[in-house]
């Protein structure tokens, strides 16, 4: 079950599509649900499926296809860092090593204090700004040198 606010947001998304095409709103509905819950539990996907009149498995297909949807509970901040070729050529791997050392976690792991989860991402369309990373799917951080990373982690730890 989602909160009234989330449902309002989903209803707003639904107004963008014809009323017999409710499933068109599945991606935004899942994003809204994830914003509220932090991740997409089976019950949450079931709820979205029922709300949009879709088979649950069809919602699951979408949720597993895009890796911005979290199918497991995560730390407070999800850091997704791009490791595709252009970024890799411009220091992404070093940035990854730095983050991993600082937080003491590898990819797909959550720090002991429950604050950070590290994910490997695909090209974010900002290759010129490499290395790039995303915080909680929403905030894009560019040119992530070790110093910048230290600053960011400190800010997020507060």
């Amino acid at each position: 079950m989602l909160s009234v606010e989330s449902i309002k947001k989903i209803d707003h998304e639904l107004t963008k599509y014809p009323s017999d095409q409710k499933q068109s709103a599945v991606m935004s509905a899942l994003a809204i649900a994830q914003d509220e819950k932090g991740w997409l539990a089976t019950e949450t996907m079931d709820f979205v499926a029922r709300y949009l009149g879709m088979p649950p498995i069809a919602v699951y297909e979408v949720a597993t296809f895009y890796n911005m949807y979290n199918l497991q509970p995560l730390g407070k901040c999800k850091i997704t860092i791009c490791t595709n070729l252009p970024c890799a050529l411009s220091g992404a791997n070093e940035a990854v090593a730095h983050i991993q050392k600082k937080l003491g976690i590898g990819f797909n792991e959550t720090s002991a204090d429950g604050k950070f989860t590290l994910k490997e991402g695909e090209c974010m369309g900002a290759c010129g700004d490499a290395p790039v990373l995303l915080v909680n799917n929403k905030r894009m951080c560019s040119f992530m040198s070790d110093d910048m990373i230290d600053q960011l982690l400190e800010e997020l730890s507060k």
Partner: protein, 814 residues
Amino acid sequence: MINFEIDGKPVSVPKNGTVMDGANQLGIYIPHFCYHKKLSIAANCRMCLVQVEKAPKPLPACATPAMEGMKVSTHSGQAVTAQKGVMEFLLINHPLDCPICDQGGECQLQDLAVGYGASSSRYTEAKRVVANKNLGPLISTDMTRCIHCTRCVRFGQEIAGIMELGMAGRGEHAEILSFVGSTVDSELSGNMIDLCPVGALVSKPFRYSARTWELSRRKSVSPHCGLGANLVVQVKQNRVMRVLPRENEAINECWLSDKDRFSYEGLNSEERLRKPMIRRGGHWQECDWQTALEFAANGLKAAKEKYGAQSIGALGSPHSTLEELYLLQKIARGLGSGNVDHRLRQSDFRADRSQGIPWLGMSIAEVSRLKSALIIGSTLRKDHPLLAQRLRQSVKQGAQLNLINPVDDDLFTTIANRAIVAPAAMAAILAQVLKAAAESTGKQIPADVKNALAAISVSDTARAIAASLINNKPAAIFLGNLAQHHPQYTNIHMLAQQLAQITDARFGILGEAANSVGAYIAGAIPGNDGSAEPVGTQSAQPGMQSLNASQMLGMSAGGIADAGAEPCRAYILMNLEPELDSYDPRQAVKTLEAAELVVMITAYKSHAILQGGYADVLLPGAPFTETSGTFINIEGRVQSFNGVVAPLGETRPAWKILRVLGNLLEIDGFDYETPEQVRAEILPGSSDVSARLNNHLGGFSLDDVGPQGEPMGSGIQRIGEVPIYQADPIVRRAESLQRTRDAAAPVAWMPGDLMGRLGIQAGDSVRLRQGEGELQLPAARDDKLPANCVRLASAHPLTATLGGMFGEIVVEKL
């Protein structure tokens, strides 16, 4: 039409046709995996790449629209290189475990790898492994073999009407699965096994029991629902190992329901009767055929002498063959009794005087082209799964489906209008639709129902159903199984027929069993003229004294147990289990127990039969795989088949048993040598029976359509429908089907307000009483049920001690 060329041969396809369509027309084979003629185009396997002149790269034949003047080569260098390249990619992650794969020998990937694969792989890296899924008791998985063609997914979405499988993840992580932990429960699920081009989805009951090339393939016809689906029965060492569809576009297309496909397990059941048995002094003993048959014949003769010919009754299941039913009635009539019937679950026989042979009213294929349909009294998906599939396709083409039914199970299709009403209110809601139709067309309501309609007020739903039938043509009205079992069947029939006339719709009756129509043709209906003339006209003037199924089993006209009626003294029961196959099992068993002789021709010796105390002699009769015979399906199609295995133990085909019995009883005309001679006697000349099929009910008038709306007071009604996997003796013993969700043990379903009034919570045990019968079962909640109704399955051993399928039932909190 679009004209183009494939491999130098000219071909033309309709607009929107593809290169693949053209190739199919020309008989040119293009390798493919994801393409299937009955499914949408996914174009995800790329196996069908072909060269098209002027196109810069190879194109997938299945998804490339044909264009005027296009030149396609399927075997050119470019095409073959592309196809080989795709094959190399497909094999990268494929386990190549053919020696231990059930699909081996009938695998499209294996076949095409021979044609397009290299003899060794260039790939040396690790292959991916995908965890297997538990999809339930029918489908076994080996997901590492999956090539992601999504045929199984599309089948669910498009044909079964419910998406139970999907493709999660992407790229290397893509896998086919069901939503977290659920099984595949569709009643058509077995078709995914056929569709899967590799060994990822295979049959669980068949798993590891034979290699496909060891099996001989024999043609047969399904004995279950009224469709008569065409089967290939696969046999090894005289045992049925597997059943597959035999394509017949006019009946089952390329599909089978799970009931048709997996019921064969019941043929190899432990409960098969292998030797004749006689009960002496309360104990069952095996005996030889001579003894058993003489016992039966002497018993019948003695009953005739003592009580007269009218004391003999013959009941045959409509799942029996035409020949069996014909010989059964010939024996009864030869003895001088007109007490013959096959309508074991029917309770209202008032229409018997004036009815022809009920049938679908059209061909099965025509159902796919309907634009509006009204189904009365059926959860069609469970009663006739493939007919429901056809209607689902017509709904996709814009048809409207309307429903009048006491239960509201999901039909996996869009229902335009539905009236979910108590059984007792079904006639009334139909009357409303009739009145609405008359009002909107301005046609006269015929005199025979006019009075009954005077006081009816029309609801919006009824108006919408009428409008749907009037405005969308072709339209049809169908009476389902539940309507035929209904205590007011005649009223419902009458009203539906008038409605069909006024709305200019077709009218069909969906016979419940494979030979429901054939049983009429065989003459297995009451009639006292003593002749074996097996024509439908016979029912037009049946003798007054002949008893129908319900009277023979101790019920009066309304399906109510009636002490006044005089049932028979000696019975022949063929292929039926009275405690499961009759309208009122309690009354049926009681009546049979009081009889002096009950001869059973049966393939099974169930606990109920052996302990029941009503049967006196059991003659092992062969099921459909062990005898030749004929079924006439609901569209009147005559389909004969041969036995595919030898009879088990001392079992004999029932037509032979009846022939010997006829001889022992010294009845004339029982010297048949072959079943063909019997068939020729039933269907002399041609096998076209269409002229004898007629749903019209005349000379019957209706004064009262029963209560309008919900019945008042405390009278609770039973809705006793037959569960899909309890409908006949074979399917009841199919172990895997009995483990599916559809075969779950019955519970007492009630709407929430009724539960509230009785102070019952879901899960509580309740006492259910009908007459003297009572039992305890858990209660469950279903708010879609009409008020004051309890849905409690019939035809199930757990409810066999109760009374009729419909009517009053008492529910008590414990």
